[in-house]
């Protein structure tokens, strides 16, 4: 009897701890690669430090300075503009192309392959590609415009404040729409055709079918992509840095570049970390707000 109860106790203990054993590797990985860097970043934000041998505690000084720093606030505004337009563009083109690819058209597989190409190129390749396409001296856009006498002198697409940000936005949209397109296409293909047929019989037009069948069916997918895409775009660095380095002036100075410059050009690690914490909070809030707004009732 005693033996049986010991076995039962051992079994209960084993059952209780086994799940923890399964999640331990993943938990440790997350702790080491996600939680620790974030906490270390927060820790740094309280110090005037060179990360090696100078650690002067400054409390919340950098948090307060970031809030009154016109450059940082300006960069946040630019980031907002960039994020809203790029994410909007991703969804617009993602929906359009996904809808087209969902039709029974000739060479659908070929078009699908072509449309997904921008996503397959690394950011660096795209940035340099467009930097040269848009280059004032010898860029193909200017060459064409001048050849057809649209302009007399080359346009400084990336060297003029008025055009630099729109150019970077367009390139970012071009680079990022395929991900949204693929997700939406996958979602659309899961919607039952019977529902569309039933709606058709009930007299619903294409727009009504889109609004009352497609969108609700895609809502869980859309919420996920919207949150992920917004946060990714909010943190965009590579494309902008390689195309304009935040210039001309500060017309494309998004927060990621501002933070990078503070950390790795001016060696102000504490200030850069405090600014990063603000960006982290903003990204988290974006996720919370979107989840609330798009909650599936």
């Amino acid at each position: 009897m005693k033996e049986k109860s010991r076995e039962a106790r051992n079994y209960r203990l084993k059952s209780a701890f086994t799940p923890y054993g399964f999640i331990l590797p993943a938990s440790l990985t997350i702790l080491l690669l996600v939680v620790y860097p974030i906490l270390y970043g927060v820790y740094i934000s309280f110090f005037d430090t060179n990360l090696v041998n100078k650690w002067n505690f400054v409390g919340l000084r950098y948090y307060l300075r970031a809030l009154t720093d016109s450059s940082f606030l300006h960069s946040l505004w630019k980031t907002m503009v960039f994020t809203v337009t790029v994410v909007g563009g991703h969804f617009l083109f993602g929906f359009i192309f996904a809808s087209i690819l969902n039709l029974k058209i000739k060479f659908r597989t070929l078009f699908r392959g072509i449309l997904i190409l921008p996503w397959l190129f690394p950011d660096v390749v795209i940035a340099y590609l467009f930097k040269w396409i848009l280059n004032t001296q010898g860029g193909i856009i200017n060459a064409l415009l001048m050849h057809y006498h649209v302009v007399r002198v080359p346009v400084g697409w990336l060297s003029t404040s008025a055009t630099a940000l729109p150019c970077v936005i367009l390139v970012s949209i071009w680079k990022g729409y395929p991900l949204v397109m693929v997700q939406i296409l996958a979602g659309i293909q899961t919607v039952s055709t019977e529902m569309y047929e039933a709606a058709k019989i009930d007299g619903a037009n294409a727009w009504q079918r889109f609004c009352y069948i497609t969108i609700p069916a895609l809502k869980p997918i859309l919420t996920t992509i919207l949150i992920l895409d917004t946060v990714w775009v909010f943190k965009q660095f590579t494309l902008i840095w390689l195309m304009t380095s935040g210039g001309p002036g500060s017309s494309t100075m998004v927060s990621a570049i501002e933070i990078y410059k503070n950390a790795f050009s001016y060696f102000k690690y504490g200030l850069a970390s405090a600014q990063s914490v603000y960006v982290l909070v903003i990204c988290y809030l974006i996720g919370v707000v979107f989840r609330r707004l798009l909650r599936d009732d």
């Binding site: 990360l51 004032t136 001296q137 002198v153 404040s161 001309p248 002036g249 790795f264 060696f267």
Partner: protein, 468 residues
């Protein structure tokens, strides 16, 4: 000052640790390239591991046992300098089979980020590139050995030009071994100057006149296709440090040390205003530079000269290497002259250097120093110049190069009036403020007065934040 002393104490401790762990033994082995020079390094006084010092006070590399050194020199990744440097490393290893040199590539743009990461992780390479822009931080962080001058030896140090030693020294400590001589001068198309009968300009007014004469519509399509000059206007340190030299020729110092630990910015001065106004006018308003000044970086600038689309550009001598690589036909057509100046300002230019240092964690600093001396011997410095067009700081090599190639005459003349910037940790910020200033004027249409006022206010803040 106390912080600096603390950093020094820390680097001394680190050095002591590295010395205690260093290994060595006795014997004599001459260095092939420069036997007399490379055998002058003294072994550490407190070395406890054998007698690596020979009877004549030189360091015995062959007897140092198995040595492995990580060498992170930014030029290793260059198409011209990289293969040459690897060749030098191979020949050193052939000479000393007990020494293994491991090349580590890192671009100049990523250097400081990489070093910070390595210093934080305790994985600094044994030898790494360093420049005056970061030397104060390097010393403060205790990244480099604080007995570099001792390791290199007095005889070797005497062979380096004084400005280079001064440039690489912070608070009395030689932070890095200077190697590349980055005296700034104007490179120009010598053949076109001769064709048009233009003399080398001495003032910026004369420069502008020359640039206007050189700006031509060679294919008669109604728009110029060869411009008098090209200016770098991108918002990065390469272009921004060039502007600092430009400002110098207007009598403007970016920052002045007051001697009491405080600094004053020069951005609010009339000289800075004149420099910025002239810079913007020449680069963007006078029609003597190709369109897209704000997009034009160093590589775009020398490519335009190589492609016969521009005639003058101010830079260090390595620009000649870029031009010749892009278009070998330009050899023999290029010349150089000292930087023009504003009226009333005596000839002046900037001197800066890039070099190498030995990390405070290096276990074989004597071998590292011996390799560096081999690498920068007179013969190797001349060969390095042939490969890259970079001028060295080794006096005899510099003389030999300038005497043999007329294209460097302007750099040699300019170096007589070269000045060194004060070691100021906020220099990168001040330079960036200048970059932002000209970019907002040129690309956003902000008035120069408003841009200057903003720049002056930001610069004053930077000067204040770095004052004790």
């Amino acid at each position: 000052m106390k912080k600096r002393n603390a950093a020094l104490a820390m680097s001394t401790l680190l050095w002591a640790g590295s010395v205690l762990s260093a290994c060595g033994s006795s014997g004599t082995q001459p260095t092939a390239a420069a036997p007399a020079e490379t055998m002058t390094t003294a072994a550490p006084a407190d070395s406890t591991q054998g007698t690596a010092e020979t009877a004549d006070g030189t360091y015995d590399v062959a007897g140092a046992g198995q040595v492995s050194l990580d060498v992170m020199i930014t030029s290793l990744g260059d198409s011209d300098g990289g293969p040459y440097l690897r060749g030098v490393m191979d020949s050193y290893m052939a000479m000393y089979p007990n020494v293994k040199l491991n090349p580590v590539e890192c671009s100049m743009n990523d250097l400081y980020t990489t070093l910070i990461t390595q210093a934080t992780a305790g994985t600094l390479p044994d030898i790494f590139t360093m420049s005056e822009a970061y030397s104060a931080n390097c010393l403060e962080m205790g990244m480099s050995t604080d007995r570099l001058a001792e390791l290199l030896g007095e005889q070797y140090m005497n062979g380096i030009i004084d400005a280079a030693i001064e440039n690489a020294t912070v608070d009395g400590t030689l932070v890095y071994m200077p190697w590349q001589n980055n005296t700034t001068a104007m490179v120009y198309r010598k053949d076109l100057f001769a064709e048009k009968g233009i003399e080398a300009p001495k003032t910026w007014d004369e420069f502008l006149t020359a640039a206007k004469t050189l700006t031509e519509d060679t294919d008669s399509d109604g728009t110029p296709d060869r411009y008098g000059c090209v200016f770098a206007g991108t918002r990065n340190d390469s272009a921004e440090s060039r502007f600092q030299t430009f400002a110098l020729t207007f009598g403007c110092d970016f920052v002045t040390a007051n001697g009491d630990g405080t600094y004053t910015s020069g951005f609010g001065t009339e000289e800075y205003k004149n420099a910025m106004t002239a810079f913007v006018n020449i680069a963007a308003n006078e029609g003597v530079t190709p369109a897209g000044f704000v997009e034009t970086g160093y590589s775009e600038a020398y490519t335009m000269i190589a492609a016969d689309r521009a005639c003058m550009f101010f830079s260090a001598s390595n620009v000649l290497g870029g031009i010749y690589n892009a278009n070998p036909e330009m050899r023999g057509k290029m010349g150089s002259f000292p930087m023009p100046t504003a009226p009333g300002v005596a000839p002046v230019t900037s001197f800066s250097s890039v070099g190498m240092t030995i990390s405070s964690t290096c276990k074989n600093p004597e071998v590292a120093a011996d390799f560096l001396k081999y690498m920068t011997s007179v013969e190797n410095s001349v060969a390095w110049n042939e490969a890259t067009c970079r001028l060295p700081v080794v006096r005899d090599a510099l003389t030999a190069i300038c005497e043999n190639d007329e294209a460097y005459a302007g750099f040699a003349a300019a170096s007589e009036n070269a000045v060194i910037y004060p070691a100021f940790a906020g220099l990168a910020e001040l330079r960036d403020i200048s970059g932002e200033c000209w970019q907002t004027v040129v690309s956003e249409g902000v008035s120069i007065e408003d841009a200057l006022a903003t720049a002056a206010s930001k610069a004053e803040e930077v000067a204040k934040s770095h004052s004790n």
